[in-house]
Amino acid sequence: MFLATLIGASVVIFVVLEVLPGNAAQTMLGPDATPQTVAALAHKLGLDRPPVERYVSWIAGLAHGDFGLSYAYGTPIADLIENGLAVSLPLALLAMLLTTALALGLGILAAAHHRRLGDLGAMTLSQVGIAVPNFWLAILLILFFAVRLRWFAAGGFPGWDAGVGPALKALVLPAVALAAVQAAILTRVIRAAVLDVMREDFVRTARAKGLSRAAVLWRHVLRNALIPVVTIMGLQFANLVAGTVVVENVFYLPGLGRLVFQSIANRDGVVVRDAIMLLVVMVVAVNFLIDILYLVIDPRLRARR
């Protein structure tokens, strides 16, 4: 299933970026290039070979970690992508962590105070959170915490060489901007899932054993509620990755998203292709991990395998 998704995605990306527009070399050089230079570049890039052959050699290259050379920078794409990942991956993980923590807190609060003030407050907050665009929140965060309070830099990334502290500090505001929207959506999912599970018979059994409300929530309800929640988290990760592309641009973070972006401006199609493929791989990998997580959570699924 996951392999099929990856192959499908790679074919789509390949077809869209390399086959449809006709001559990629022309795109790279711009409309003013002479036919000779276009032909020379096309030959250098191997674009004059048949598409299937090029597709196979692309995938084979990816599998070996050989991504080819960037046309614009002349450096190996693998290095560019590695540098981008060093920012994007920690950012996505930090945002996912924040999302989960925020949503669990608010979602459980709302469910525990079902139809009371805490519920209403959490749901209103979540409704507003869903409506606020992440890049606007990012700008507001910069305005407040960087321009007004001067606690953080307005953007940029010092690199991991500057130390873990400063590097993480540069990722805090972007992660908050990314996490807010996702957490707003996840809060609703968690609330609904917890309320559903609280109606189950085994919750009453657990209470009859003498467990307090809180103990039942932690020991029985949450784990059962996690099953639908984890599904949504998998779907959300794709949005989170898309969100990093936007937020990296707000904060001038040299991540994968920014790399894709600059490469479009540089007409560096090969980099766009590889970087987007990698983003898709990240999404698919996370969903694969989530499938494994299901098996850990739910013994009923283990039996079926």
Binding site: L211, S212, A215, N224
Partner: protein, 329 residues
């Protein structure tokens, strides 16, 4: 002092049509070693009574009166105190073994849970004790099944697990709410025999709730018949079933499914349906459905009138009721 004394218990529910009483002034008592049954149609208030005893009423329900366990009023107790009583002094078994166990925890862990909570046993000790309990409830292949998850067990086996967990801490009182209704007939009698045996061995009190008069007749020494939130008849099981003093008990008895009588041939089924609790008439709740209804029935809820030793029925037309035909056995 009796182990359990319920005095004037009333449970008020918030229904879609405003507050209504699901249990209306129920009183009874139960001693150690005794067995007591609550019977009646669904909606009679028997399950609400059971839930009030263990103080686990649904959200929005309010109980008044007194529920004394060893002299302590559970309706006035703090939630903290109740948590110390539930699963420890009172064990409870529910109707649906298929859904009453957490699907994500192994069976042995769910039996060990009250042991860790109330007895403070270590994980290892609680597990060892849970295994002993699973053996005692004769879970098939107990040592292997203990590590199993609920979905791997049959309904009857799951009910055994639930019994083991309810009895884990050696409670004074076992409340069993329709424990066999969801099971097939053979398994039903196995489970009921098991409960009877365990109750007898441990000298517990048993409060058994069932709509099935056959289950009452075979398993409890004292029977309470509930209708419309009230106890309409109470007495020693044998006396209740031989006299069938209250017209409702008589109707229930006649309506029970029997071997050899086709489903469509319920000659003496009770006319009408159980009214919603918000629609209960003033006076005797059975008025209107009862063939003996007279104007006076609706004046006030009849007091319990003596029928025999320890046997009473809330009916002002007891004499007339005794003339109603019994269903042929």
């Amino acid at each position: 002092m009796a182990l359990l004394e319920v005095e004037e218990l009333t449970v008020r529910l918030a229904t879609a049509r405003g507050p209504a009483d699901a249990v209306r002034g129920v009183s009874f008592s139960l001693d150690r070693g005794q067995t007591l049954g609550l019977t009646g149609e669904s909606g009679s208030g028997k399950s609400m009574t059971a839930l009030a005893v263990i103080a686990l009423l649904p959200e929005g329900a309010r109980a008044t009166g007194r529920v004394l366990l060893n002299g302590e009023d559970l309706l006035a107790a703090s939630e903290r105190r109740l948590c110390a009583v539930r699963g420890n002094r009172i064990g409870m078994i529910f109707q649906e073994p298929m859904t009453a166990l957490d699907p994500l925890h192994s069976v042995v862990r769910q039996v060990a849970e009250p042991l860790r909570l109330h007895r403070g046993l270590s994980a290892g000790a609680a597990r060892a004790e849970a295994l002993r309990l699973l053996d005692r409830v004769r879970l098939a292949d107990a040592h292997r099944s203990a590590a199993a998850y609920p979905h791997q067990l049959s309904g009857g086996q799951r009910q055994r697990v639930l019994i083991a967990s309810a009895l884990a801490c050696g409670p004074d009182l076992l409340v069993a709410d329709e424990p066999t209704t969801a099971l097939d007939a053979t398994t039903q009698s196995e489970i009921l025999d098991l409960i009877a045996e365990l109750v007898d061995e441990d000298g517990m009190a048993l409060m058994l709730i069932s709509h099935d008069l056959g289950v009452m007749a075979q398993n409890v020494t004292r029977t309470l018949v509930m209708y419309g939130g009230s106890i309409v008849e109470s007495g020693p099981t044998e006396a209740v079933f031989s006299r069938l003093a209250h017209p409702y008990t008589r109707g229930l008895h006649a309506a029970r499914p029997r071997l050899g009588v086709g489903r469509g041939k319920r000659l003496a089924a009770i006319p009408g349906t159980v009214p919603e609790i918000a629609d209960l008439p003033p006076g005797c709740p059975f008025a209107g459905r009862c063939p003996l209804t007279i104007a006076a029935c609706s004046a006030a809820i009849p007091p319990p009138l003596p029928v025999g030793p320890g046997h009473a029925a809330r009916c002002i037309r007891l004499e007339a009721a005794l003339t109603l035909p019994k269903a042929a056995d």
